[in-house]
């Protein structure tokens, strides 16, 4: 009796020796401009080649502009992007550069192109690689030394992590989304609750979610400190993958689905840890602090330092509230905001844009708020435009941008200013994450859109039909 994780892990162990980590085979290696230059240089210095260019896929996303026309104004970013172009050409790696119609955020395009498939091992020099676990793959972020390892050998040295079942049961109320599920988990277990573990998301509420929602949840596994997050593949998964560019076709498809049906955790298999979230009682979530674990239901007050269990937690909260310029014990609702960002590998897919548009349609963004809507990929941009979503955004007074990471990591000029407040659908509210001195409230696309309209932190349920 094995868990989903154990099955995928066992299928990829090349070698094990006493006192040594396992040699783990990697099926898909995703590459972007920020964490790969030093790794390519490393294999070049060794006179090595990329072992499996066919299992390597590159895109540009972190330091790319999202302004119309895609003009790169930062010479350092330009050099980094040029380095990726040169490295991919030299080593024969498929690259979706700014001129490709398949360019986009690395964790958006992998699934979109059908490269992400159940049962795979997937890595990238990016912690949000956990996104791909939504397909029942084992997907995790790695450092640049490990990027070099995979480029050179298609393998990684890994210690087997422990397993942690996160079960969601029930039916969410209107206005409660996958983003709220995962923010609630992290608020409960903290940013180190998953350290050393692979999370598996289970339960009736997960089964009821579409793939994009499952990706939102898996994406933020790393924010709980977990190595990865996984969802067992089912018909929803297969329907999503079917027909995509890199998906198996014909008899190969049937064989693949038969194989993938064996992946779910066996009845009676056990996890090292477990928790259950009652989805019925969840409310829209928002973060108030400087890590993703500092979150509350939007109607609830910001906790007081006195209510913290330890001196360390008290100090942590006091430091966060000082940075955020917030008063403990009061709800965030009504707090004026300066910027709303809808995008990132967490929430930039069609269902996210549709959710935001459902709130923005026929309404106007508050004049005090700058609102950016940044699609996750060029394909999503085209699809959204075909549906007319872009007109809903621009009519409301929001900016409709080109695809990329944008204001989630603020490497490309899209950023908030010191002291400003942003409601963001991204994944990190760390100090300065969205711009030096900037303050971030993490929330769902629905909540973010509601805040854009009122110009204040808002419970989206008051605005839903």
């Amino acid at each position: 009796m094995k868990t989903l994780f154990e099955k995928v892990w066992n299928d990829h162990v090349v070698n094990t020796e006493a006192n040594r980590p396992a040699v783990l085979y990697i099926d898909l290696h995703l590459i972007h401009e920020v964490t790969s230059p030093q790794a390519f240089q490393g294999i070049r210095n060794r006179g090595m080649k990329v072992r499996r260019p066919d299992r390597t896929l590159a895109t540009m996303d972190h330091s790319t502009p999202t302004t119309p026309g895609l003009k790169i104004v930062d010479p350092l970013a330009a050099k980094q992007l040029e380095t990726l172009v040169n490295n991919c050409a030299e080593f024969g790696v498929e690259l979706h550069s700014l001129t490709s119609d398949k360019q986009g955020i690395v964790h958006v395009i992998g699934p979109e192109l059908g490269r992400t498939q159940p049962g795979m091992t997937i890595v990238c020099g990016d912690s949000h690689t956990s996104t791909h676990g939504a397909f029942g793959s084992l997907a995790f972020g790695i450092g640049t030394s490990e990027v070099e390892h995979v480029l050179a050998t298609q393998c990684l040295l890994q210690h087997k992590p422990k397993t942690f079942e996160v079960r969601f049961e029930g039916t969410p109320a209107k206005g409660v989304t996958a983003k709220d599920f995962i923010l609630a988990v992290i608020a409960q277990i903290g940013t180190d609750g998953g350290t050393g573990h692979v999370l598996e998301y289970t339960g009736s509420a997960i089964r009821a979610l579409d793939m994009e929602s499952r990706m939102t949840i898996s994406n933020m596994s790393i924010e709980a400190g977990a190595r990865a997050g996984m969802v067992a593949p089912d018909d929803t998964t297969f329907e999503y993958v079917a027909g995509r560019e890199a998906a198996p076709k014909g008899a190969e498809w049937d064989a693949a689905v038969a194989r993938w049906r064996q992946l779910p955790t066996d009845e009676g298999a056990t996890y090292d840890q477990s928790m259950t979230i009652d989805v019925n009682t969840l409310e829209p979530m928002i973060t108030y602090g400087t890590n993703p674990g500092m979150g509350v239901a939007v109607t609830q007050p910001v906790p007081t330092p006195e209510s913290m269990k330890s001196a360390a937690a008290r100090a942590d909260l006091e430091k966060a509230l000082k940075y955020m310029g917030l008063e403990a014990g009061k709800p965030l609702t009504g707090k004026p905001v300066d910027v709303v960002f809808i995008g990132s590998c967490t929430n930039s897919r069609m269902s996210d844009l549709r959710a935001a548009a459902s709130v923005l349609k026929g309404r106007k963004v508050a004049s005090s708020v700058r609102t950016l809507v940044v699609p996750g990929s060029k394909q999503i941009k085209r699809e959204a435009e075909a549906e007319g979503l872009h007109t809903i955004f621009t009519d409301a007074g929001a900016e409709w941008r080109e695809a990329g990471c944008s204001m989630c990591i603020a490497m490309n000029g899209d950023q908030i200013n010191a002291g400003q407040y942003a409601v963001s659908t991204s994944n990190r509210n760390f100090e300065g994450r969205q711009g030096k001195g900037g303050r971030t409230f993490l929330a769902s696309p629905l909540t973010a859109a509601a805040c854009a309209i009122t110009g204040k932190v808002t419970d989206v349920r008051t605005m839903l039909p």
């Binding site: 006192n19 040699v23 030093q38 240089q41």
Partner: protein
């Protein structure tokens, strides 16, 4: 050739802050580089703008051990974090817990993550508070930390990372040596 670590004795920099994420260790705007070098000035770049920040104090200069709070190195997988810390001069970080990816990255760059119990951590922090001149010694071979009062505390290290650090071995060499097993795996699984 990989990074080597055997023994170390140093004064320590106290950073009693929990959940220090890698965006604080090096903010993202400094990641637009194409090599590993030259990141020393960006270590804790935003926090360093406060003249009172510990890294700016005279007693921090020359220290090679950072005594940090719980859950150090969470967030982004950026290896620029250990690159920046080692470029600044650090060789070890002591905490009660490290984020997984940071720990893995640190060990590949000669930056030893030393995990101690909350009690030992409090004891070390108290000793440092009493005097900025106290020293801590680390011996990787015996996995021993010697506290300022002379007490010895053992710490865990992954045996393979330890082997590589003691011998200055690059972990990639171990993988490269498994070429035939990798080829056999690919043949067997049709990969």
């Amino acid at each position: 050739m990989g990074h080597q670590f055997t023994t170390l004795t140093s004064r320590v920099i106290p950073l009693p802050v929990d959940n220090v994420d890698t965006d604080q260790i090096i903010p993202a705007r400094f990641l637009k580089v194409t090599d590993k070098n030259g990141l020393a000035e960006h270590a804790f770049a935003d926090w360093r703008q406060d003249p009172a920040f510990i890294i700016n104090q005279p007693e921090a200069q020359g220290c090679t051990i950072l005594l940090a709070g719980d859950n150090f190195g969470s967030g982004s997988s950026r290896e620029h974090a250990p690159w920046a810390l080692t470029a600044w001069g650090l060789r070890a970080v002591i905490s009660t817990r490290f984020a997984d990816i940071f720990k893995s990255n640190a060990l590949k760059n000669g930056l030893l993550p030393v995990e101690v119990s909350p009690e030992v951590h409090a004891q070390l922090m108290a000793a440092r508070e009493q005097s900025a001149s106290v020293e801590i010694s680390l011996d990787l071979e015996s996995q021993t930390l010697t506290a300022p009062d002379g007490s010895k505390i053992t710490f865990d290290v992954d045996p393979f990372a330890k082997h590589c650090l003691l011998n200055g071995m690059d972990q990639l060499d171990y993988l490269v040596a498994h070429k035939s097993e990798i080829e056999a795996f690919e043949a067997r699984t049709g990969s």
